[in-house]
Assembly symmetry: D2
Homo-oligomer: 313 residues x 4
């Protein structure tokens, strides 16, 4: 297995540009990768929740891996989501990703059958020898029903093939509890999912974030990460307030919990970067939400222009 790399900073969970139900928007994908990388991010995570991975066919997932790794061309490490209800399909995808040049894989618990924590430990123990790449565990309990509990992390983290954890539970007590456990695993990366929590987690010792908004404004999140890593909590508060503005508007426009992904794709479409087609069971924002999003976008850009030079965000 290739050696685990300690990740730090902003690793955006890339949305998957689609032209139709089972068709990539390949031009949009190229533009999106370049847009994100231009923001100075530290890695790229494809086929996560924001990437709508579970809704995509395996054929399309493989095509996305190929095209993304080729486009990134080792400028930053690419991580590939392999979360699946089928152990065999997870392994298949991991092997494919390794061949294509990815540097790590990311796995949430299998999400159909509700397994016990002992079963999760065994699952991970069985999986690791089959994986050609370092593994980042992933908590996303709102979608997978269960998560890796602190005691479970403690029992599996001595395995050096486990490179880190991405926590999207939003449960900061859990996050701080893990930080205590991880004092002696200096090479383990602890990343936070919800971007609203990026500032505080990095201020208090976290390693970075998998921030969806970095699809749109990568430099904002990179700057917030850097300010927090440097302990400039005044700058953190300033940038955090724009992140909250995005969260309170773009992500809160639709009625359902899928609004975050829909909002991300809508802005990318408004910006001419890629198509906003969504895989079933979702559909893109319709006219009313799109117009509302456009208005919000203008206000956010004005705020960004105040704290950044206009051309660099």
């Amino acid at each position: 297995m290739s050696e685990a790399i300690k990740l730090k900073g902003i690793i955006p969970p890339m949305v998957t540009p689609l032209a139709a139900r089972d068709q990539l928007d390949s031009g949009g994908l190229e533009r999106l990768v370049e847009h994100i990388l231009a923001g100075g991010v530290h890695g790229l995570f494809i086929l996560g929740t924001s990437g709508e991975a579970p809704s995509l066919s395996y054929r399309l997932r493989r095509e996305l891996i190929d095209r993304t790794c080729s486009q990134v061309d080792e400028r930053v490490p690419v991580l590939v989501g392999i979360t699946d209800t089928s152990f065999v399909e997870s392994v298949n995808l991991a092997c494919y990703a390794a061949e294509a040049g990815a540097k790590g894989v990311v796995l949430a618990p299998p999400y159909y059958f509700p397994a016990g924590q002992d079963e999760l430990i065994e699952y991970v123990d069985h999986l690791i020898p089959e994986l050609p790449l370092p593994l980042t565990l992933y908590n996303m309990p709102s979608h997978t029903k269960l998560m890796f509990e602190p005691e479970t992390i403690r029992r599996v983290m001595d395995n050096s093939a486990i490179a880190g954890l991405k926590d999207s539970s939003g449960d900061m007590v859990y996050f701080h509890r893990l930080q205590t456990f991880l004092r002696n695993r200096r090479d383990f990366h602890l990343l936070v999912g919800p971007e609203e929590l990026l500032g505080e987690t990095v201020l208090l010792g976290g390693d970075g974030g998998v921030s969806g908004g970095a699809n749109l404004f990568p430099r904002l999140y990179v700057s917030l990460y850097e300010a927090a890593a440097a302990g400039s909590h005044r700058r953190v508060k300033e940038l955090q307030s724009i992140v909250m503005h995005i969260s309170n508007t773009i992500y809160s426009t639709g009625r359902f919990s899928s609004s975050i992904i829909k909002g991300l794709k809508c802005v990318l479409s408004l910006e001419g970067i890629c198509n906003d087609f969504m895989a079933e069971p979702f559909h893109r924002f319709r006219r009313v939400e799109r117009e509302r999003t456009e208005k919000h976008l203008r206000a956010i850009k004005r705020e960004l222009a105040v704290v950044f030079d206009r051309n660099t965000v």
Copy 2:
């Protein structure tokens, strides 16, 4: 599309006999199909929850469809589960099933992203034109997080391609509510999942059950169905008490909610019918649970012998 068939009676959700992680127990599969059909069942449902479908590779799912349809050889209709988080993979599997000779497909809501009911309706509306077989909807909220709410069923059920509903929610108020709505859809089958509820649902107008225990004792469930359909509630109570005995022992042996499938496979292994290998994230019952199951099995067989001629259950 082939015409929808009104299903009635017992359609067992077949467990998937496995020899190893990605290998069917093909001898066991043949014996299991014959064992179930010998019990007089009215159909066979493969690749459902009891069949561990989400845990299996797509390759193995296709092999199972081929072998089962071939073994059944049109003696009863075969239904195939196509529940998936990916719309395209659901359609792929449905097409494969139609080619192999299946008579219907069964679909629970996509289970990663939590969709709204409006999105579910649109999902079904998009799906039906792509399906070559009649569709039975399937509620399994403990595993899929959301279910088809009564109003959703009311809005989609006028589509004649929807043949029926299998409800495993265990919510009998919901079940009775649907029965009210369905008064004018005589060709729609309303089947109950939990076998503990088979007697009462059929007594009060339901069409039958997808009873996991019919993998083990098909004639027991067929007899219970027939007694209920005939309104013999005294016989229903007698047979129901054996069903509860199975539920209180075989299905309650392990610690986790997966005990039902583990218990089913353990008994089939004890009976020499098929292997009890389980796909990850589960594993078969270990020695203690196996011995306990064996003891329970003997007691249940004694009860069965009292109410049936020993050789026919």
Copy 3:
């Protein structure tokens, strides 16, 4: 302690007629008691969920106990809900009820702190010696968060001071599981809460129901009980369909889960029996819902007239 009585049949959970926030509608209360008793019910349960007990001051609860016991005057046994988060207040209310002539008390788990099952067992063990009346346990997990699990019931039910269980979980697998355990406790009453499930539970051996609709149409529920107890499942289906009509209309008019109580009070107000004032945090149906309810009521009465002599329901 007075001896436990085995309850059977219909024990309506009486709504609490209110004239204002902390004031009984005492005339309405008299009329309501007489209306219900005229229907031939087998008991009366006050200060349950339908009685809005947790929303009432203790002073008003005591007044209601006095007035109801006095009005009923031993024609049927009166049961009093003593569910509380405070052990001491539960005991206080039980003592008051015994003095006033009630025949039993009803208790759901304390509902603020989430206790473990072991703690619940200890709670019941501590409580029973303090109670002057037989205790009916009560499951209402949608409101109390936890319920008495089957194993908990098995461990406490040998105490003869526990007279029975009222189950409003709607979980029929649980209900049937308990029936199995209770085979040797012939004096234990097992009552079902949701009226939609009354028919089937009694057909299969349950003892009766605590049916909210019996506030409105007591004879309907008494007849349904009698038909089920006699095994007339055809009559059960006929009456059950009216029960479902009530459930699908009156109880489903408002947006929130409180619609059942609001619907009950609205009908009682339309019928001139009592005031429909609701304790906070709820308010009565407003004009639109009231008009809709009136229309539904007319349709239900037409159905009732078909299956009963018009003047007797």
Copy 4:
């Protein structure tokens, strides 16, 4: 109504020292109040969740209000929890508290009936005119099932009688969202419940915490608050790591979610401050947990001695 005071800093949720089921440990109460006040706290909150309020009789609650207000004697403001399922009992307790000299009341949503957000707004609108003291809203969804959603806060917070919010949801996205809304309500206090989150919330603009651990080590939490308010994030990290040590040991000793209160009372008993008797449905830690707690306590005190002068924590 007395004018709302803007609270800041540490307002410990005091545990209720009990000698027996319905009897205060009055000596323990005096010692506990003095112990907490000696730590430099900014207020005192009685009859909250840590105070086991819902488990206490109303008589005992009133006695606690009297004794605490008298002991505190206006050295810091006393806040009194009035959360109740009964509107009238909440008002009664608020009036009693005002008479006794309390400076504010704290209210979580009524926790038996699941109200809609519109109903919650109406509830608060009805309540405020009846209250003689400023109101702090309180989110505790693990115990009350529902919370004040952001939009609900936005709609009620213009009422100047609402002095602030104590959020124990642990949901930091929610917390940051409220901070955005509250920019123009400078007199509104936003306090965090879980002490594990005290550091970050104050660093990013929160007003303080209702930290259970301040029953034990008031100066630790006051110092953490002061460090965060001053933006010394290095000192925050140092003190935060002791808070996490307490959380990972004292609060995690028992099996159930009640371990926090049990752990607090156990330490106070080990320290000779007050009795560790718990109101039903809980009981104090037994010998094994007590011994484990004693060991943890020694380790925590060693850590405290390193960062503080031994005699001042």
